[in-house]
């Protein structure tokens, strides 16, 4: 490992500079072109002196590459003439086939090499599982840094690389803070805001003052050597910068320790928020040191306090402004999904830079920008963008963290930068530890008087022990001006030791400590929908109780905030389509997806890709069930919606026929191999052929697997809804029929697919969304209209209804639902023994008839059916379809109720239950009557299927659609009983209970 790193290192440092780290001592012979020409190289994407965190006059900061170039340049290179000669040699002598252009690529090259070293190092650490569980990664990285630094030092006699404050504050820190802020659990953060603020402000002040004064006292007593030229102000300054808990270190260590959430958020929140305190204290002291202690007036102290308020509040406000901006911008990125993540990064980073610009607390700014924008951004941007943002942020943060720790190690090696004083070092270590512990205990005592869940002793121990110092302190101390703070070198050394001690020793021991103290760990508990619901309910309850008791407590204000958010902010910052969605529903979807994925993870697959790979007509016809199950699951509004895009686009109670049609096409068709394909697009991410197929296999798989899950759910409310459902099944079949026909149709025209599928995949529902936004009012009308694309066979069914129990045709519709029940592997409740008893004889005959007729229907795959003209037109257009549509997933309630009505009307199962619900039925019939003209008028001419055929073109929304073929078959294969058969024994016991309850 070492060897490898060494190689990498030499690649980074040596190659160009020619120092030959392995071989070379001293005099670098080949230093040449790289260095000389490095000044003209536009070396700095990063050299941005004016934005430095602190107004310290070190102008020449930059990325590591720049730094190296600089420090190397400073080095008295052996032979300037040699270099010049070499350069000449390079560019002289006519045309050269290959040129050595190191100077040209130097900066980015070195940066890239560094990243590579860091990443490879990370991989290597994790080779040994046991090792990493004991030693935190941050320790390993620092050690690695020490080693690397040592090598460079030996090779060069001079440290080339340093953790430059500008690099740290402008690039490394923001990536970590941005990640932390954006993914901060907002609720947890605000629930503990009081504690966090207390520890961050009071605790940091306490630490800073106590450490400063105590060190001064130690100096007076003589523990600290005379060589350390420092007075009270210097010590206070040092105390301020060394007392702040560091977010990077805390994150690095605590994430591995997995303490419980509350503890984590308090320590981590503190480390973020105390940035403001540290920065202000630091600035105040610096200015005091500059003017000299004797010139400081009382008014300056007040200015210091005011400065603190401005820095912290101002930083927060800047962050919130950018959060609003970010939310607002992402509202309009619908057409340019591909740059959505960029906006997130840019604005969050700009929040940081802007705060730096005004020397406000940049960390606070960024944190609050992340916290504030997260909710709206996540709702606005697409699923893919969400994933992109997440991974990019995590990657950047991880790499930044790695680099910081490595550089800490490297910087420590450079002996010229620091001076050692044992007294100072040991005193500082002891003081910060003691005062941290005292501060925590004292504050916790106060806090526990107000906290509902008090922090107990173990928590306090962990909090004291977890006060890790890190790179922020180091960067601040390096920024000190050696002219004014004469003890700077001592401070640097002490800070390095403190950082190393806290990160390495405490970081190493905190895990055993936590284990030993039995600190409640965070359990990676999955969120459940119950929690989601009850948490909301409790919030409401508590708010209400506060209102009743006349208190204006936390819940009161949170409720006020939520009202405000709902009434104004969300309206402003969320897309309208998103705004209408319910958070609860979103949460539900998420949980469902998670479940689905875990189901897949656990089980094998049902379908192999081989089976899916041939998109030919015959193969498809041979297992239509796959298609239809998919279809069923997708359109069924109950949310086991595995297509992420569907989920993405599920708009509240909106009914989108268009989307539905698109989906019927997009989902049910195995994608034909593309005839042509736009090979490259900057604006859309094309899915590779392979990827698409994998995805298809995955989705179909998942859906069919979720079937089981669903069926249990269906059992559940059978009691209440069995009737409805049975009726609903009519329409369900319709839906199934349609896609199949589309399949056949679509296949004849494969060219269409390539054209539309690209956009369709990603964007298909966009037009609908737009439309939605425009026509909120037609909402109601749509409801009424939804049935119109529905069962063409409805009239037949309706007739059955009018002559209730015994019309010979009624069984068709009735039968069609039976298979639906049976298909899930459970018996249709309506054919249970009890039910059959009450069926009159003539009905039984009808029943049998219909069964036999069904038999005949269900066997042929019915490819030749006429294509629904509208559907074909639609799919050809691929464009938006107005008014009458239903979104597959969610049309849920609005449609389903209507759908249920229709279905109910059409279904006339002669059963006792029906009588019981006759009144209900009558009402519904009334509704049906009203709708019928509409339906019939909308029914496309000539699209009527043969009567026994399960009616096609059904309601997309009727959440309960099942595949007719599968279910019909499964039903049919059961012996068609002269008295309707007692259903095949139910697998689910709750299932079997159903019928008796009828």
């Amino acid at each position: 490992m070492l060897l490898m790193l060494l190689l990498l290192l030499t690649a980074g440092t040596g190659t160009g500079a020619g120092t030959g780290a392995g071989t070379g001592t001293g005099a670098p012979p080949l230093r040449g072109p790289a260095l000389r020409s490095s000044p003209p190289v536009p070396a700095s994407p990063s050299a941005s002196p004016p934005l430095l965190l602190l107004p310290k006059p070190r102008a020449e900061y930059g990325a590591p590459g720049v730094a190296s170039a600089r420090s190397a340049a400073e080095e008295p290179a052996g032979g300037g003439g040699e270099e010049a000669g070499e350069q000449h040699h390079h560019h002289g002598g006519g045309f050269r086939v290959v040129q050595w252009e190191w100077s040209y690529v130097q900066t980015p090259y070195i940066i890239a090499i560094w990243l590579l070293v860091a990443s490879v190092a990370k991989i290597l650490f994790h080779f040994s599982q046991r090792f990493t569980t004991v030693v935190p990664e941050s320790c390993m990285l620092i050690l690695l840094g020490l080693v690397l630094g040592g090598i460079v030092l030996i090779a060069n006699k001079k440290q080339l690389y340093q953790l430059e404050p500008a690099l740290f504050f402008l690039f490394l820190l923001p990536t970590i803070v941005g990640d932390a802020g954006y993914f901060m659990p907002a609720r947890l953060f605000f629930d503990n805001l009081g504690a966090i603020l207390m520890y961050a402000v009071v605790g940091t002040l306490w630490n800073a003052f106590c450490t400063g004064f105590s060190l001064y006292a130690a100096k007076l007593v003589g523990v600290i050597d005379e060589r350390v030229h420092a007075d009270l102000l210097d010590f206070l300054l040092f105390g301020a910068l060394v007392s702040a808990v560091d977010p990077v270190a805390v994150l690095a260590v605590f994430e591995e320790v997995h303490v419980n959430d509350t503890l984590f958020i308090i320590v981590f929140g503190e480390s973020l928020v105390n940035d403001a305190v540290t920065v202000v204290l630091y600035k105040v002291y610096i200015s005091f040191v500059e003017v000299g202690a004797e010139n400081v007036q009382t008014v300056d102290y007040f200015k210091g306090v005011a400065s603190f308020l401005i820095v912290s509040i101002g930083g927060t406000l800047v962050g919130l402004v950018f959060a609003v901006l970010l939310g607002f911008i992402t509202r309009f990125t619908k057409k340019v999904r591909i740059i959505e993540p960029l906006f997130v990064f840019l604005l969050v980073y700009l929040a940081y830079l802007t705060a730096e610009l005004f020397s406000l607390s940049a960390i606070l700014s960024m944190t609050f920008c992340g916290i504030g924008a997260n909710k709206y951004v996540e709702a606005n941007i697409s699923q893919k963008s969400r994933t992109t943002v997440k991974y990019t942020m995590k990657t950047l943060a991880s790499i930044a963290e790695t680099i910081i720790f490595i550089f800490l190690g490297i910087s420590a090696v450079d002996k010229t930068k620091w001076a050692w004083d044992t007294g100072l070092v040991s005193c500082t270590l002891i003081f910060i530890f003691i005062f941290r512990a005292m501060g925590v205990i004292g504050q916790t005592w106060v806090l526990n008087r107000f906290r509902l869940v008090p922090l107990d002793k173990i928590d306090q121990v962990v909090m004291s022990y977890g006060g890790l110092r890190g790179a922020v302190a180091f960067a601040l101390v390096v920024l000190l001006d050696g002219e004014q703070v004469r003890a700077k070198d001592y401070f640097v050394a002490t800070t390095i030791v403190v950082v190393f001690f806290t990160v390495m020793f405490q970081g190493l021991t905190i895990k055993p400590l936590v284990k030993w103290l039995k600190v409640p760990r965070s359990t990676s508990r999955k969120p459940t929908i119950n929690e989601e619901i009850h948490e909301r309910a409790f919030d409401h309850i508590l708010t209400a109780v506060e209102d009743i008791a006349g208190l204006q407590g936390y819940h009161h204000w949170r409720d006020k905030w939520e009202q405000f958010d709902k009434n104004y902010l969300s309206k402003l910052l969320l897309r309208k389509s998103v705004y209408r969605k319910s958070e609860l529903w979103e949460a539900y979807q998420k949980i469902n997806i998670r479940d689905a994925i875990s189901v897949i993870d656990q089980g094998g697959n049902v379908l192999t890709s081989a089976r899916l790979s041939l998109p030919s007509m015959t193969s498809r016809a041979s297992f239509p069930e796959v298609t239809n199950v998919t279809n069923y699951l997708r359109e069924n509004g109950s949310g086991v919606c595995l297509d992420l895009q569907v989920i993405d686009n599920v708009p509240g109670a909106k009914v989108e026929e268009d989307m539905e049609t698109h989906h019927v096409l997009a989902e049910n068709l195995y994608k034909p191999r593309r005839r042509y394909q736009s090979a490259y697009s900057r604006h859309f991410m094309p899915l590779g052929e392979k990827e698409r197929q994998d995805r298809e296999v995955f989705q179909r798989n998942m859906k069919s697997r979720m079937e089981t899950f669903k069926s249990t759910r269906h059992k559940r409310h059978k009691k209440e809804r069995s009737l409805k459902k049975r009726r609903g099944s009519d329409s369900k079949e319709d839906g199934n029929e349609k896609p199949r026909r589309n399949v056949s149709w679509q296949d004849k025209d494969p060219v269409v697919v390539p054209v539309e599928s690209e956009e369709e995949k990603g964007e298909h529902s966009d037009p609908e969304k737009e439309k939605e936004e425009d026509e909120g009012i037609t909402f109601v009308a749509r409801k009424a209209e939804t049935p119109k694309i529905r069962p063409k066979s409805v009239p037949a069914a309706l007739e059955g209804c009018h002559s209730p129990p015994a019309a010979p045709y009624s069984p068709t519709s009735e039968d069609s639902h039976l298979p639906w029940k049976g298909g899930v592997g459970s018996p249709p409740p309506c054919v249970s023994v009890e039910a059959t008893k009450i069926i009159p004889v003539d009905l039984q005959q009808a029943w049998n008839q219909s069964i036999s007729s069904l038999e005949s229907i269900s066997s042929p795959p019915a490819p030749a059916e006429p294509v629904h003209p509208r559907v074909s037109a639609l799919s050809r257009l691929g464009g938006p379809r107005p008014a009458s549509y239903t979104p597959p997933g969610s049309l849920a309630g609005s449609t389903s109720s209507v759908g249920a009505q229709v279905a109910q009307g059409s279904f006339c199962f002669p059963e006792k239950k029906e009588e019981e619900e006759e009144e209900e039925e009558e009402e519904e019939e009334g509704a049906l009557q009203e709708m019928r003209p509409l339906m019939s008028s909308l029914r496309p001419p000539g699209a009527m299927p043969p009567p026994p055929q399960p009616p096609p073109g059904s309601a997309p929304g009727s959440g309960k659609r099942r595949n007719p073929c599968v279910y019909l078959r499964s039903f049919v294969t059961a012996p068609p009983p002269p008295p309707p058969p007692p259903p095949p024994p139910p697998p689910g016991d709750s299932r079997s209970r159903g019928p008796t309850q009828l």
Binding site: L542, A544, D547, L584
Partner: protein
Amino acid sequence: MGSRASTLLREEEIEEIKKETGFSHSQITRLYSRFTSLDKGENGTLSREDFQRIPELAINPLGDRIINAFFPEGEDQVNFRGFMRTLAHFRPIEDNEKNKNSSASEPLNSRTNKLLFAFRLYDLDRDDKISRDELLQVLRMMVGVNISDEQLGSIADRTIQEADTNGDNSISFNEFIKVPPVDGEQDY
């Protein structure tokens, strides 16, 4: 108002309430003044209308349920004792109480009682089970119109399925207790 409150509230009454609910003396007097200010009829009891006059409560989606929780079954008036008894559910558990909790009678603000209070808000028919319909009603109150019945139905199904351990398609109190993440309820 404050003086009137304390004159109307007799010391022994305060003592009794103290014993029953665990509120401190000052809390009781403060709540009593709140009680009287809510009591527009000035008859020493609160009616539903009195509660509904609280503006914030009117917009609280669960407001009605919570108001109902203050009224014993079949009554539409609640006196101060009853008022305090209900509020006592929301008193935080104090440190010293934790230890003696094991003793016979459970105080009103125990975790179980808090959860029971919440449970009762769902369980309208008092059969100690939250049925699907009851859950649906509460959900409907909380989500507003943006979510369809079907979606809501599937959420409810899912919820029940998740919590239901004995397979009766409803959430019993025991099942309910196991669910909530919040450690008891907060505040007051």
